[in-house]
Each structure stands twice: as structure tokens, then as C-alpha cells.
């Protein structure tokens, strides 16, 4: 074998190696497939109201009392090694967006929606997937959750409530049906939200939201 030949072979080998690595990376970066999208949307639909009672409801016109909401204070998801403190948060005055706690190890419960006591609607908890300054966030591995995985949310009343994952969906932020995830009607459910999908390094933004829906186990 000539020197010329050996050089050519080495070049080809390097080429194959490069292609293999690139292909592996490409496969590994495929967006996680959504599972259970149908279940999630069924949970959000409200059953038709029962035939209204013949008599007209009459209430004392008293000023509304403080609602008894039970905020979640701790969330444990063994499958992805999450134990996080939950803060009650609202919306950012300036952006009108969900005020996700700035600390990446903390996650935020949407205090305007239902709490863990609810008999209807979506309890929403959102957390960072990561942060440029602080690294990986509490929900870094949220996209790995699958149907059947369980999680435990503990309320301010000290009671732990178990939930079972029924859906994991990925939506472009421009298309996500937020009204459904922030609904106050439909079956009681827990909705976990973080960022995902391709990252725009210039805008420092992820394209997508990852949404995990769980129901009381």
C-alpha cells in the first residue's frame, strides 16, 4: 500500500467518524415526542351542565369572603430527582407573563388559579429549565417525565397529595394553548411548565414550552 493510499484511507476514516458523531448528536437532539395530548385536552373540557334546577338560587348578598386556597409548598418528583420549594407567584406587571421565581432551584405556583384543595381546574406550577447565570434549574429534566410517573405535592396544610402523569407535551411558545392550562374548570389537575426545544442563543430564549399534566393518583 502506498503512502498516498494510506492518507486517503485515513481521511475517509476521519470522515466516517465525523459523520457518525454528528448523526448521534442530531438523533439525541430530537424534540421529545408529546404523549397524552388527548388526555390533557379531555381533562380541560367541561361536561355539559346538568339540567338546571327549577328554583332560582338565592344568596345573601354579602361581600365575598377570603377563599380558602391551599398553596403547594413542596414538590417531589422522584423519577427526575426533583425536590423543590414552591413559592406563590403571580404575573410580572411589565410583561404580563408568569413570574417564575428567579432562583432556578425554586419553582412557582400560580396563586391566582386553584390550589391543591380544588375540585376543578388546573393547579399550575412553573420552574426554570436552566439559567445562564445559575446553571441547571429544578425542571431541567421535566421533559423526561412519562405517562404513569408519579409526583407528590405537599400543601401548606402539611398534607402530601400524589399525582400521576398523564401527558407530556411540547408547544412553540407562540402556539401553546395557555387558556387551557390556566383554566379554572374541567377536571382537577396539576400542570407543570418549563422551557424547552431549540435555544436561540442571541435572544437567550427557548422556542418551546414543555407541559406535563398530572391527575390525582
Amino acid at each position: 500500500m502506498t503512502v498516498r493510499n494510506r492518507g486517503a484511507l485515513a481521511a475517509m476514516a476521519a470522515g466516517v467518524a465525523a459523520l457518525t458523531v454528528a448523526a448521534l448528536v442530531a438523533c439525541g437532539s430530537q424534540p421529545t415526542e408529546s404523549v397524552g395530548a388527548e388526555e390533557a385536552s379531555t381533562l380541560a373540557s367541561t361536561p355539559p351542565a346538568a339540567a338546571s334546577a327549577p328554583s332560582v338560587p338565592v344568596t345573601a348578598g354579602e361581600l365575598p369572603a377570603d377563599a380558602e386556597t391551599i398553596p403547594p409548598v413542596r414538590l417531589v418528583i422522584p423519577e427526575i430527582n426533583v425536590t423543590a420549594t414552591v413559592n406563590a407567584v403571580g404575573v410580572n406587571e411589565r410583561t404580563n407573563e408568569f413570574e417564575v421565581p428567579p432562583g432556578v432551584n425554586q419553582i412557582g405556583w400560580y396563586r391566582y388559579g386553584p390550589g391543591l384543595e380544588t375540585a376543578a381546574g388546573s393547579v399550575v406550577i412553573a420552574g426554570h429549565v436552566d439559567s445562564a447565570k445559575q446553571g441547571k434549574g429544578a425542571f431541567f429534566r421535566l421533559r423526561e417525565l412519562d405517562q404513569g410517573d408519579t409526583l407528590t405535592a405537599t400543601g401548606s396544610d402539611g398534607k402530601a397529595r400524589r399525582y400521576r402523569v398523564v401527558a407530556r407535551e411540547e408547544y412553540a411558545k407562540t402556539k401553546i394553548p395557555l387558556d387551557r392550562y390556566f383554566a379554572r374548570d374541567g377536571k382537577p389537575r396539576l400542570t407543570l411548565i418549563t422551557c424547552g426545544g431549540p435555544f436561540d442563543a442571541k435572544a437567550r430564549k427557548y422556542r418551546d414550552n414543555i407541559v406535563v399534566t398530572a391527575v390525582p393518583a
Binding site: L9, A23, S29, D130, L178, G196
Partner: protein, 280 residues
């Protein structure tokens, strides 16, 4: 609570008095939404009543301070009559004939006293448009036998110069606010103060009424409240990451690597081929 915003809204004069005919004129009536939600508010002191709609008894022994409904009423004209409990409709103490109920609206009909103390019926169209995430709607209606008033939140007037039978409204930050009602331009408290718990995504409608006649001052002002839920909006988005470590897109450098791989393979192949043909 954003008082400045609140004041602007009040000053903007979001104040409306609507006759029954006006209700129809104000409300679009899409063909698919023929029914309206109608609530009835009792703000006449010391006078429980039976309420008749189109000659049929709809509310029995309806007490002052109570709110009935919502009833789903088809679009159309209605005769409404109030009688003393058990008395026939013929001896109604108050009645309105041919009240136009538009389709697809949310209406509150208040039985109350006018400024001079005479019983009357006033319909109000309830603003059930969505509020922004984090906000609540406060609507105050003057339905008491009382002069012009100001409504204050935390001691600052937010709705000024409200007269019977008008309303003032504004969307404010959800939460609890200490509110009272004073005679317009004065510090003379007429109602309250009371804690108003304005829950996000709801409209709280407060009716100022005369609650009881015959107390020491001659009359006592109070409030009746009605709440409409389900007006919430979702936040604009959920920004939850700016690190990029979880990005699933393929980085540019991997494309470069792929290109290099293809070039190496091709180049090597061509060289091998030319080397072989060269030897022959």
C-alpha cells in the same frame, strides 16, 4: 392596588345609567346567543317580596339584601312585578311592563330606592369582558336613598361623584382593599370601611343600599354584593429558561462537522480511486 390607574378609570367616567330600552341598544345580539343571564338584587329596606316574571311567581319571599339568579332568560320582553309575600299580582307594589331583555347579555335588575327614597327598578348591564391576568373588576352602583357619594380605597377617593342610579367601575390589581363610601367631597363616612376581597378573574359588584329605615339616624346605608366569576385570562407566557443547556436544536458546529466529514470521505475516495487508476 394601583390607585392612579383606578382614579383614571373613574375620572374617565365609566358611569352608565341604562333604561330598559337602553339595555337593548347597548348590547349586540348575536343570533347564536339568544339567552341572557339575569340576576335580581333586592335593595329595598324592610320589604320582603314575591317576584313575578310574565305573571309567573319566580321568587318567593325574596328578602332585602339577597341576590337571586342568574336566571337564563330568552331574549324578549318581560313583565316584572313585585308583591308583598303571598299577595296577588294584582296588588303589586312595583312593576315594569315590557322590559326588553337582549340576547347574550349579563344583566342585574336592582329593586331599590331612588335618591328621594321611592322604590324603583333599575337594570344594569354587567361588564363580563375578560380581565387581564392578575386583575379583578370592581363595580360600584349607587342604589341608595342618598346624595352623591365618593368611593374611597385606602382613604383615597377612587370613584368620585357617583349618583343614584349610576355605576362606576375599574379593573384593579386583585387582592384585598379597605374601602368606604363618603358623601361626595367630604370625609363623612356613609358606609364602611369594609375589607373588599377582590378575587382575581372576577367582577365584584357592590350595591350601596338603604338597609333599614327607622334606626336612630333615620336610615342606615349598607351594601349588597354580587360576584361574577370566570373572567380570568391566562398570563402572556411562561418564560422559564435562558441558559440554553437544555436546547434541543442542533448547534451550528455539528453542521460544520457533518460537512467536514462528507468532504473527507469524498476527498479520500477520490484519491483512492485516482491512485488505483494511476497504477494500472
Amino acid at each position: 392596588m394601583q390607585l392612579s390607574y383606578f382614579r383614571r378609570v373613574a375620572a374617565g367616567g365609566a358611569v352608565a345609567a341604562l333604561a330598559f330600552a337602553g339595555v337593548a341598544a347597548f348590547t349586540a345580539t348575536p343570533a347564536y346567543a339568544a339567552t341572557s343571564k339575569v340576576s335580581v338584587v333586592h335593595g329595598i329596606p324592610d320589604t320582603p317580596v314575591d317576584v313575578y316574571v310574565n305573571g309567573k311567581k319566580t321568587l318567593d319571599n325574596f328578602k332585602p339584601g339577597d341576590v337571586a339568579g342568574p336566571l337564563n332568560l330568552e331574549e324578549g320582553d318581560y313583565d316584572i312585578a313585585l308583591t308583598k309575600p303571598g299577595e296577588p299580582i294584582g296588588s303589586a307594589i312595583l312593576k315594569v311592563d315590557n322590559a326588553a331583555v337582549p340576547g347574550g347579555a349579563n344583566i342585574s335588575i336592582a329593586a331599590h330606592l331612588d335618591a328621594a327614597g321611592k322604590p324603583k327598578i333599575t337594570p344594569f348591564v354587567n361588564d363580563v369582558s375578560k380581565v387581564d391576568a392578575g386583575k379583578a373588576r370592581l363595580i360600584v352602583r349607587h342604589t341608595a336613598a342618598a346624595p352623591e357619594v365618593d368611593v374611597r380605597a385606602g382613604g383615597t377617593p377612587v370613584f368620585k361623584g357617583l349618583t343614584n342610579p349610576n355605576e362606576a367601575k375599574g379593573d384593579v390589581d386583585a387582592g384585598t382593599v379597605k374601602a368606604d363610601v363618603v358623601l361626595a367631597g367630604t370625609d363623612t363616612v356613609a358606609i364602611g370601611p369594609a375589607d373588599l376581597n377582590l378575587k382575581e378573574g372576577t367582577a365584584t359588584i357592590v350595591y350601596a343600599i338603604v338597609y333599614a329605615i327607622g334606626s336612630a339616624e333615620g336610615k342606615t346605608l349598607d351594601v349588597v354584593a354580587q360576584t361574577i366569576t370566570g373572567l380570568h385570562s391566562a398570563p402572556g407566557g411562561v418564560p422559564s429558561g435562558d441558559g440554553g443547556q437544555a436546547g434541543t436544536g442542533v448547534n451550528t458546529w455539528w453542521y460544520v462537522l457533518t460537512g467536514a466529514g462528507v468532504l473527507l470521505l469524498l476527498g479520500g475516495g477520490v484519491r483512492m480511486a485516482t491512485a488505483r487508476t494511476g497504477r494500472q
